[in-house]
Subunit: 310 residues, 2 copies
């Protein structure tokens, strides 16, 4: 029952030899959702042993190169590997033009279908929804460049049946689905058995929010309230707050303020400017505001374990 | 007086976590010529401390992604760094379309000029020529994909003047340029001083040939004859000779045959299939035919020292 984030790249526009540009992968129950795809993402996926064939959905926050220049290489590699299943890409519509233009001019025929989904970028948008997970995008503040944050939320799980109680009340199979969803049970004798007697609560759903690139933008707080894990960019330190504002980026302190205001479980800061070799000042600055902070470094894994039943 | 090759990437189409796709840089007297630009090239340039601002010429062999997907990232990074000087790119004309389309759709304005030079691909073509170096392209055999090899040749250096002999014969400044180029000298008294008495030979020019991707193609032998250093692809081993032929690649033995027939100084083999973790079989196979062979591994440096005067 994994819900686990792996950082593939954690740097801002100019990569360093140790920090690749932005990319990360969220493992939700062994399905791998790729978030951003900077140059070298396919190399990092191999290095950190992510099963590439389990990636079916790729979310691209915005069209600065450090967030998508690795996509064409990954698309090509999937085809060289003989991939058959559709690959869904959620991004600004210009990305589809860029990718299809290259494939056409090079007369590349892929072994599978590319399915693009346009992120309109002005409002909260439902991108993905199945029986276990929803993914929404929401606008960030990155100057003239439309930029989306992403919210991954597990759905409520059905309640766990107490087998011994079902046997005791001789509850037929056909009634069990409703009981899992919270129904009480009326016996043939007319006795009402409350659901709480028949079930245990499932562990609550887990959630992850990805917020980069963005200036300090408190409007996102209600959208990401109480997520278990928040990734928020922290390109700069407080000393550079003016520069952060003018380039539509955040400081480590601002990232921590967002985490604090939203009451999240844990904060990961990343998208560091290439000029910082040592990131301890970023961590210190954020921890002064929000203590449960970690640095996004390439290869780091952040697991959200199943929470205990209520 | 450096003439030195650094391997930035040595793998074929599918990169591994240890071998990046094809890219290398040739340092000729502290000017850096980039040859191919697979995904992640800019990361490798940083890792191996190549002074990026000294790259003014990029040569792209062909338009399979593993040879150029790193170019758009490098172009963007140069602009973020505020580069001013022109960047010359030598490639099939489709590459210019791909790059310019991306820049236009993303409304990117570069801080410098991109100058594209079309490689026509059917014959030997002079790409670059200045006072110290020439670069030519020549066709390789890579199926329907036009693919160019590159030949880098230093020009003959002027001969070294023997200062004491010039003083002895009281040779005026104005005559010295011709003597450096090999002229004899006629004294005012009518005595002919042979050039060999007045000069020493300069060290002979050095040369490098880059041949990937290609099937075994002996037609290139006269073009690369006696180069000091030859890089030749060796995607496969002899066991896979049929597969090499059908995919227009070479085996390690075939690469060594080319080196042997052309009488080169040293052979480097590269562009290894991702399925080979251990490359000792490639090296062994090539060495049976041509003993002075080395493996191209990411970060390897091959220097061609100045040769002794004749």
């Amino acid at each position: 029952m994994k819900f686990e984030l792996t950082i593939l790249g954690s740097n801002s526009a100019l990569p360093t030899s140790k920090r690749f540009p932005t990319a990360q992968v969220l493992n939700v129950l062994e399905r791998f959702f790729l978030i951003d795809c900077g140059e070298g993402t396919q190399i990092q996926l191999k290095k950190f042993r992510v099963p590439m064939s389990r990636i079916n959905h790729i979310f691209i926050s915005h069209l600065h190169g450090d967030h998508f220049f690795g996509l064409i290489g990954l698309i090509s590699t999937f085809s060289l590997q003989g991939r058959m299943s559709d690959l869904h890409i959620y991004a600004h519509s210009k990305l589809e033009k860029i990718i299809r233009f290259q494939l056409e001019i090079l007369e590349s025929r892929l072994s599978y279908e590319l399915v693009f989904h346009n992120i309109f970028g002005k409002e909260v948008q439902n991108l993905f929804d199945d029986e276990t997970l929803t993914v929404q995008s929401f606008p960030l503040k990155h100057g003239v460049m439309p930029c989306a944050g992403f919210l991954f939320k597990e759905k409520e799980r059905p309640r766990h049946l107490k087998k011994d109680m079902l046997d005791f009340y001789r509850i037929p199979i056909r009634a069990r689905h409703g009981i899992k969803l919270g129904d009480d049970y009326l016996t043939e004798e007319g006795e009402l058995i409350p659901n709480a007697k028949l079930t245990l609560a499932a562990s609550p759903p887990r959630s992850y929010a990805f917020c980069t690139d963005t200036a300090y933008f408190p409007r996102i707080v209600p959208l990401i309230e109480k997520v278990d894990l928040l990734y928020h960019e922290a390109t700069f330190l407080k000393d550079d707050e003016k520069r952060a504002k003018s380039t539509y980026h955040s400081t480590a302190e601002q990232a921590a303020n967002i985490a604090q205001e939203a009451g999240v479980g844990k904060l990961i800061i990343g998208h560091f400017s290439a000029r910082f070799h040592d990131l301890s000042a970023h961590l210190y600055e954020a921890e002064q505001v929000f203590s449960n902070t970690a640095l996004a470094e390439d290869g780091c894994v952040f697991e959200i374990p199943l929470k205990s039943n209520k």
